[in-house]
Symmetry: C2
Subunit: 418 residues, 2 copies
């Protein structure tokens, strides 16, 4: 069998099996999630030992440290995945909820939330995504087809095997969880992107390059996730201690994640004091490299000049662009020009500027006096997330169970004609 | 200026003006709609006389009769458009509605409905779409860019001019309503499809060919609308009088619209009686041409045989494919194989078959004992519709005001960091 044929067989089987999953009641779906949590506990050592194989290969292949960290599973992290499952079990099931109206001619029109059908995902090295995605799909009655990165192949196979066992023991076809082995090159990803007859949505999750390639080439409808060129704006009325603490957190706590900031905008009235303090607090402690506009350079001589390219860049690294602006309007304009529409924050004591920022910044999450790092399904109370949408259609921001549903109009009559 | 430059200027102006429209309150937006209704009344004769120019040109160019009918405006039809505006004014405004939660660390997270920004539409000859689309967009705080067909150019310019006057008199920039002159060929449509920096969604509405071309080529996110290969299934337990009345209505009342049926599926137990009656009722009265499967041909000798191609075809004409099946399961399988996911109906007295059909048929609207012709924004109580989505993401079925919104998370804190 070719890669294309293998992929097609997995997707077709998922589509066929999805029909029975779609009509399961909430209790039965939660039982599957409980069984998966149980299996992960029982098979914890086995999963960790498979994960070690991936780690050894990754080190051999010279994979950088942050990626090794993402790849690594230990007992604590597996417990964390099980905690996510428990949160998800507790969440309400959106499927079957809806509203009913009766028309003048007596037709009953019910708009009901239903599963999408088959959800596919192309992602990279984080093995927790394997369980999160499968669990969110099962909770919402969707079959799922996963294509994880080759770096995590042993771990993913162990996790998928555990989950398929759980499905079988609950008398559900294990075909509802398809796993496409990554193989070499892009063959399996390309095959998955062409399965528009049996896959209802394809969600890419990972690097900007991966996401762009999938959105551009997929024949299956996609949801764009994760590109995060995020901004923090320190207004003239800001509490500068708060601004310092939030700015450090938003950049330095985890610089490589999508909700970390990439550009700091500072009002000219407070720029001198704030920027000197910020540099002092981050240069030696975090090794943060600043790149500034001309006016920033006058305050912080010796730092590199920020180019147009810098403002467009999601560094995902200990680098931050800095720009001095003269008003909230100018900050908003900069953000709407360069942002990827993920998360932006203002630190201000002015209710008027806060309101302007909230209404005029065109991004999924807009913060007043808090760190952008909170943009996350778990933090937002969604149990788990299948990604963070940076598009406006269908879903925007962290995607939980609702993003995995569509609607169906069910109309009941007594022979009405129009 | 080239067509591209003209299109870009109109889209950029719409994007800039959209910011102020987005923050208007419901009362102000409804005032604009009232003013538009008033203008249409005052300018009724002028619009009709411009419409006459289009009709004369259309006749000269040999445009078929059903299209001439779609193009034609008279006082009654303009009153109908004004009635739609009145319904829309009465509908609740989704913008600003939402839900608020507070997290353990005290962050207030508000998920609020907000406008998409700039909504563009490429459509054909129906001038009521010009007003419906603009009104739905204004109601939801969206700027709109319209590119109507060249057959309706004089009518559209008159309607757009009336609406721009209404906007100006309400002190709103007329740039929120952009109109792209169709010109010759596809140049202006192609230009609009490339405006991803200033257009948030592009909705094609019209022929299958138009919709497919836009969905395939657009760089702006699209919503697929209107392709309607719809089915009616007459079950063995059906009330055959009801089935006859619904089948005639679903095909013959307006064969060229998207919610008309294209294939009739009949259970073998009732096929002989039902099909003979159906043919007798439709052949001479409506001139309906039937194309049947082999078993149908045995009952109705002399009709043309239906091919695989027939089952795939949206005739939009007085032609209907007929297939005899042995069970509701077989009917569902046929529908899920050939349908475009628009509207399907079952006529049955079996609660079990009705339930199976509702849950297993994967289409936007699923009817039990009623005609598919009801799939329409007006019939569903949406005031007007901007199209009928046949995709699963973002919107499915008739699209009213909710389909023109996205969401934004507004988070308020007191310096929280993660």
């Amino acid at each position: 069998m070719t890669t294309y044929e293998k992929t097609e067989a997995i997707c077709r089987a998922a589509k066929a099996a999805s029909k029975n999953l779609a009509i399961l009641n909430t209790k039965s779906k939660n039982q599957v999630l409980e069984k998966i949590a149980e299996k992960l506990k029982i098979k914890c050592d086995e999963i960790i030992s498979e994960n070690k194989k991936d780690l050894i290969n990754a080190k051999k292949n010279g994979i950088p440290a942050p990626m090794l960290d993402r790849l690594m599973l230990n007992k604590e992290r597996i417990d964390g995945i099980r905690d996510s499952l428990v949160s998800l079990i507790k969440l309400p099931d959106p499927i079957g909820s809806g509203s009913v109206t009766t028309t003048a001619c007596g037709l009953e029109i019910c708009c009901e939330k239903v599963p999408l059908g088959v959800v596919a995902m192309i992602y990279e090295a984080r093995p927790n995504v394997t369980v999160d995605a499968a669990a969110l799909c099962i909770k919402t009655g969707n079959a799922v087809v996963l294509r994880g990165g080759k770096e995590a192949i042993f771990t993913n196979l162990a996790l998928v095997c555990a989950m398929k066992e759980a499905l079988s023991e609950c008398n559900i076809s294990p075909d509802v969880l398809g796993f496409i082995e990554p193989g070499q090159g892009h063959e399996s990803a390309n095959a998955l992107m062409s399965m528009k007859d049996c896959v209802d949505v394809l969600i890419p999750r990972g690097s900007k390059r991966l996401i762009e390639a999938v959105v551009k080439n997929s024949k299956v409808p996609t949801i764009e996730t994760g590109a995060g060129n995020c901004h923090l704006y320190v207004d003239s009325s800001a509490d500068l201690d708060m601004a310092l603490s939030v700015a450090i957190n938003a950049k330095c706590s985890r610089p490589a994640v999508c909700n970390a900031i990439e550009t700091l905008l500072v009002h000219s009235d407070v720029a001198d004091k704030f920027l000197k303090n910020f540099k002092a607090a981050t240069e030696s402690k975090y090794g943060l490299e600043l790149r500034g506009c001309e006016r920033t350079l006058a305050i912080l001589p010796g730092i590199k000049e920020a180019t147009e390219e810098d403002y467009k860049t999601e560094y995902d690294d200990m680098i931050l662009a800095v720009k001095i602006v003269d008003s909230t309007d100018e900050a908003i304009e900069h953000i709407n020009k360069y942002s990827t529409g993920h998360s932006e924050a203002i630190i201000t004591n002015s209710a008027k500027d806060a309101q302007k920022f909230r209404s005029m910044v065109d991004s999924a999450a807009v913060y007043v006096n808090a760190s952008t790092r909170f943009t996350d399904g778990g933090e937002f109370g969604f149990g788990a997330e299948i990604g963070i949408s940076t598009q406006k259609l269908h879903a925007r921001g962290p995607m939980g169970v609702d993003a995995l549903t569509t609607q169906k109009y069910l109309i009941t009559g007594e022979g009405q004609i129009r």
